[in-house]
Each structure stands twice: as structure tokens, then as C-alpha cells.
């Protein structure tokens, strides 16, 4: 049996799967913000958690690094009561991710 670690594979399918996971957690976090869910901070924490570690083969690390910074600042601004600034960062992070996945599907 061959043991495969995510870091050793970087096919488009695995890269897409990894990014789709993050996209789902972003969706949940942003919806929690729009609907003022009492669990919004935990949802943002899940989105942050999904961004930890390297991407498969490290091929999407540059993007993920950008997303980490945006989500971290978004969570901080929301905790400080600035919804608009927080939402701006989350929306940009989500958009960068979505368009990256779309481009990856065409490679």
C-alpha cells in the first residue's frame, strides 16, 4: 500500500477539492455575517481553520496566504463592530478563491 500525503500530490482534482472545501467554509461564514448569526465568530473561525497548512503540492499557497490575511482581518474588524469593513475583506477573499477555482478548471 502506498501512503499518499496531500503535500505529495498536486493534481488539478485534489487542488480543486481542497479549494472547494475552503469555499464552502467561506460561504458559511459570509452567510452567518449577513444573517447576524449568534455563531458568526465560530463560523469565521472555521473559515480560518480551513486555510491552515499548505495547499496540495504547495501550488496554491500564494493565494491561500492572501486569503488568510483577509479572513484574519475580517474577523478582527467584525469583533470590533465594523461590519462593512469586515464584509469587504470576506467578500474579496471569497471572490479571489472562486475565480482561482474557475481558472483552475480551465487549465
Amino acid at each position: 500500500m502506498v501512503s499518499l500525503r496531500a503535500g505529495e500530490r498536486a493534481g488539478a482534482a485534489l487542488r480543486t477539492a481542497h479549494l472547494l472545501r475552503i469555499d464552502s467554509y467561506m460561504d458559511i461564514a459570509i452567510l452567518a455575517m449577513w444573517t447576524a448569526s449568534p455563531r458568526v465568530d465560530a463560523m469565521l473561525g472555521m473559515a480560518e481553520a480551513s486555510l491552515r497548512g499548505g495547499s496540495p503540492g504547495g501550488k496554491d499557497d500564494e493565494l491561500i496566504e492572501k486569503l488568510r490575511a483577509l479572513v484574519r482581518e475580517g474577523r478582527e474588524y467584525l469583533a470590533g463592530g465594523d461590519f462593512s469593513v469586515a464584509m469587504g475583506r470576506m467578500r474579496v477573499a471569497h471572490d479571489l478563491l472562486s475565480l482561482h477555482i474557475i481558472r483552475l478548471s480551465d487549465e
Binding site: 483577509l70 465594523d82 462593512s84 464584509m87 467578500r91 474579496v92 474557475i102 481558472r103
Partner: protein
Amino acid sequence: MEHDIEALTGGAMASIWSWVRAKIPAGVEVFDAHAHIGTDVDGRTMTGDGMRERMEAAGVKKSIVFPLNDPNARDDFSGPNDVVWRAYEEYPSSFVPFFRLNPHLDYDREFSRCVERGFMGLKLHPVSQEFELDDPRVVRLFGMAAETDLPILIHTGFAMQRIVEPLLPTVEAHPGLRLILGHCAMVEVLSATRAFEGHPNVLFETSVVQAKDLYELCCSVDPSRICFGSDIPYGDLPSTLHSILAAAEAAGVPEEALPGILSENIRRWFP
């Protein structure tokens, strides 16, 4: 915090904002087709001064503005409509004033008052005012707007469940009626582009729409039918400009079409 461009464009947003600024073609006077002034039942507010400061900081020249879902709307939105009108009187070169109505209630008097006063369009929100787009009272209102050549911006974004099917008969009955689909009919974006493709007086407005929806929009309709919006105070100018510019680039929209999306397509109606 009503307006803080530093927070909106600093930190992790700094490189994003630089990209946006570089992407806006030189000489383009950005026109925001969707923004609010007033107070909402959810507590959000925006003043005319606050709106102007945001526009200046982000390099936006003109904005369509209309009331939020105001707790002081009473029966006819006359109070919130007056707030928008006062902002317009203070900054006539910056704002294009739209008024808002509740189609459930007696709207004839406020419609006439606002048209006579010089309001340049009408905003309708099917979710906040809880109506369907094929409700007879709404269809009558569409007819009144067509008769007076008054553009209408309809919320077709978050929480909408029926858009194309109830709206298409009105668009077909009034081909001259100028409609702005706020948030670009996002849940039905592909069927909306197909249904309204042959109706050049229907524009797709982009505020707070996800880039993947905007990608599909940009791939499916001529760019001359797309106009930028921010939805301030729910959205902000840097992130909403990023959404449409990034989606347009990914969709292969030619650079020559960007002035239209950012300004000229909506400016044709409000020179």
C-alpha cells in the same frame, strides 16, 4: 463607523485596492448605480455627507441613491424620500435621486409628488416590502413608470425566489420601460440573461454579488448591459469594484468594455 476608507483599503486590502485602481481605465468617471441614504430597520445608516466622502475617497463621481427600509417610512415612504431629496439638493452633481414606495399601500399620491419634484427613478424592494413582481399592484406601478418614462431599480438579490418568470410579462408589455436589476438577478442570473437578452432597456447591476455569479453574468450577456453598483452601506466601493473587475477579467471581457460597465452604460440614462 460610517466611512473609513483607510480601513477599507489598508492592511490585507492594500494590494487589492492598488490592483483595482490600476484596472480602472484612465479618465473613467465611475458611476455607482446602487447606494442608500437614510436609516434601515436593521440599524444601518448612511448620510449624504458620508456617502459623498466615500465617493471622493474612492474616486466615484456619481451615485444613484434611494432610501433604505426605513423604520420611519410610515405609509408612503415620504419621509425617507425627503431625506434623499435633501441630500440631492445639497450635492446635485453627485447624486441621482430615486424614491421608494410600498406597493401594498396607496402609492399614487407619493408617486405623483416625487415625479413632479424631479426624482429620476423609483426603487422597489420585493423582499423588504413583501410582494411578488407579478402582483397586480406592482404591475400597475410598472405601467405608471413606463408611462412617465421613469427608470426603476428592483432588488433582485438576497432572499429573492422568483424573478424572471414574474417579471418577463411586464418587460414584454413595456419594452420602453427602463429597468435596473439590482444585484443582477443573481439566483437566476443565467436564465435572466437569456430572458432579457433581447430587451436592451434591462440593465444588470452588480452590487454585493459574488464574483462567481458575476463571472457567469459577464460570460452570458453583452457588457453594454452591465452596470457597477456598491449597495452602500451594505457593500463598500473597494470590494464591489474588485468583484466586477476581477470577474470581468476572468471572463475575458475586453478592456475597452470596462468604461461602459463602470460608468457609461448607466450614464446613458442619467447624463
